[in-house]
């Protein structure tokens, strides 16, 4: 009987100790209260390289605004065709929870019969966080941006087509895109539209200043298309009508150098006054000299 009690006390105390330690250690310190967000996207960039990006964030189930990035998680990127899996690269999430790899434009992907590329981003789970995987299927779209003057009207011409297995250009239809120009802090959308028969034409406004030399960077961007992902193309051209203000204020009240008339007036006033002081002092010296002569005479 005694031994039984002892046995139970030991187990009971061990379980209690374990419970205490679990309670003390957790609260908010583990991942159980958080729901994992795993976003995978692809961006085809201006030099036709392809960026694969994963955003791995933990969102607090109870407090929506509490979002914590997952750091140092290893993400593997694959392209898959049927059963063939080709690894494209690995990356670890940064302090912002973002893992990126950039694939060059001549990267070979496994392409299926319809010309689609299947990309997967995979996170091998841990004890605390389950494994996550996201698949996206995209078709490689060729986007060409041309800035030309047609009949002396500045035009933005966009061509979009896919290249099929035989190497034939197939124009696409009904793809939304927008034209934007680059600013110092952000891009400004000029026009939103849709590609019809592989082409999009936009008459560029004539009153955009551009930078100080009149250069404007024009972007054409397809954003979050279900078939083509994200594609950006940009070109810089001197279509800006920047009017540099010729009047640069130099001698004002608030500049470093004062208005010239102030210098003149001040010099005249001060000059006049201080010359007078010097005149008085010179005369005082004269008095002193005369006084010395008189004193000499007095002594004699």
């Amino acid at each position: 009987m005694k031994s039984n009690l002892l046995k139970y006390t030991h187990i009971a105390s061990f379980i209690i100790a374990l419970l205490f330690s679990i309670n003390g250690a957790t609260q908010e310190n583990d991942a159980s209260n958080y729901k994992m967000l795993f976003n995978f996207k692809t961006v085809k960039q201006n030099d036709n390289s392809r960026l694969l990006e994963v955003r791995f964030i933990a969102k607090n189930r109870k407090n929506r605004k509490d979002k914590i990035p997952v750091y140092d998680a290893e993400i593997k990127f694959f392209t898959i065709l049927n059963n063939e899996k080709k690894i494209l690269g690995t990356a670890k999430t940064s302090k912002e929870g973002i893992a990126q790899i950039t694939l060059p434009k001549n990267q070979k992907y496994l392409i299926d019969k319809e010309g689609n590329i299947h990309l997967t981003a995979h996170f091998e789970g841990t004890n605390a966080i389950d494994r996550r995987e996201k698949k996206i299927t995209i078709k490689d779209l060729q986007l060409e941006l041309n800035l030309t003057e047609i009949d002396s009207v500045k035009t933005v011409l966009v061509k979009a087509f896919t290249i099929d297995s035989l190497g034939v250009d197939t124009p696409v239809d009904n793809v939304d895109l927008f034209i934007a120009i680059g600013g110092m802090l952000s891009k400004m959308k000029l026009e939103e539209g849709s590609i019809t028969n592989g082409e999009f034409k936009y008459e560029f406004p004539t009153d955009i200043p551009g930078d100080v030399n009149g250069n404007i960077t024009v972007y054409t961007i397809i954003e979050d298309h279900e078939q083509f992902g994200n594609i950006i193309q940009n070109k810089t051209i001197n279509w800006g009508v920047f009017n540099k203000q010729i009047t640069e204020e130099k001698n004002t009240l608030w500049s470093d150098a004062a208005p010239i008339w102030m210098y003149i007036v001040l010099t005249i006033l001060l000059g006049g006054v201080w010359i007078n002081y010097i005149y008085s002092i010179i005369n005082l010296i004269k008095i002193k000299k005369e006084g010395e002569i008189i004193e000499l005479k007095l002594e004699q």
Binding site: V273, Y277, S280, L284, G291
Partner: protein, 449 residues
Amino acid sequence: MNLENRKRELVKEFSPMLEKTSSLSKIWISTLIAIILVGLYAFILQVIKGHEITGMRDNVVWGVYIINFIFFVGISYSGAFIAGILHYFKTPWKNSILRIIEIITVLSLVIGPIFILLCIGRLDRLHYLFIYPRIQSPITWDIIAIITDLVGCFIYLYLTFIPDFAILRDSPDLKVPTWRKKLYKFLAIGYHDSPTQRKILHKITKTMSAMIIAMAIVAYTVLAWIFSLTLQPGWNSSIFAPYFIVAGLYSGVGVIIIAMYLIRKIFKLEKYLRKVHFIGAGVVLLVLSLLFGYFTFSEYFSRWFSHKTKDIDLLKTLFSRYFWEFIFANYIGVLIPIFILFFKRFRNIKSITFAALIAVLGLWLNRYLIVIPTLETPYLPIQDTRPEFIYYTATWVEWSLSLAGIAAFLLLFTLIIKFVPIIPMSGIIENERNPKKNKKRIKKYLTEE
């Protein structure tokens, strides 16, 4: 008249003031030193703890220090102005008061800028004003003007001292320590009242007095422009410069009258500071109080009449929070002197001095009402909960430093009149030298009581 004998007489007459220090004057000096020491303590506390211990905060950033600065510098400029103008008057009675006026001028010009230094946040960087000056700033103009004026007033004062130093140097009856005799000799720069020396001295005194008048006007105008060239309601007024000049003159004449009264009484100089002086000064005070009242009225009346929003806010502050100060400064301070001085039968020495006292106090309050209420009613309303950021109340630090400034002024005055007689002896001799020219005037001067 025998010049030498007359000089000796005069020295004998004035030597008690120069030689002895009566016990009363010792108590007086020690009290002043005590007040200055308290002020010094407050200053050290301010340097160590920062301007937090004053009443100034983010909206009312200028307080009692600036007000004292304007006040003292106003007295100084008015003194310079009056001294300069009196130089051109050939009246015999001007002599007695000239030195008082000039000493007041120089001393208040020394004390005034010290108050500005108290208001500056980083005294360790004061030299930047001279290394990196910006001449578009009214403060730079003010610094140039004050320095120029200080040098000018010093030179002018010294010029008037020279003949007296010469008399004191030559006097055998003066019982003062040797170091003082040597000092008199040094400072007299060999002036022996020869015709050529006298001519040179008169010439440069004449040009300096013309300069002093011009400097006084220009320099106080520049100080007024520190306020009127900003955009703030209550400050951006076109008549600020003439208003300040008139107000400065008003306060200056008031202080001169008070000084005359005290000196007359304490040193028993009834022979030299006569009723005619007081009546003359009183008439000037009357004219100035009328002018001052006129300018003040035009300022506030035009604001009230055209009732712009910010002007009305300012007037509301003036008439609610500062009601009694406003009444004293702009009504009592103007009307009582006018009343006393207007009627001949009220004009006696004591009442004129009383009027001057009211005028000076009223004027200090007027300065307060110019600086502080404008800062309390800015264009964008002060929306704050901390009371010290909404309203300004001066702390003991500021008051004690103000008193210390006044005490320093009085101390320096006391010490100077121990060094040099307060009534210029050379001037007395000068008056008696030309009896034919001034016969009538001298008679009137000597017979009137």
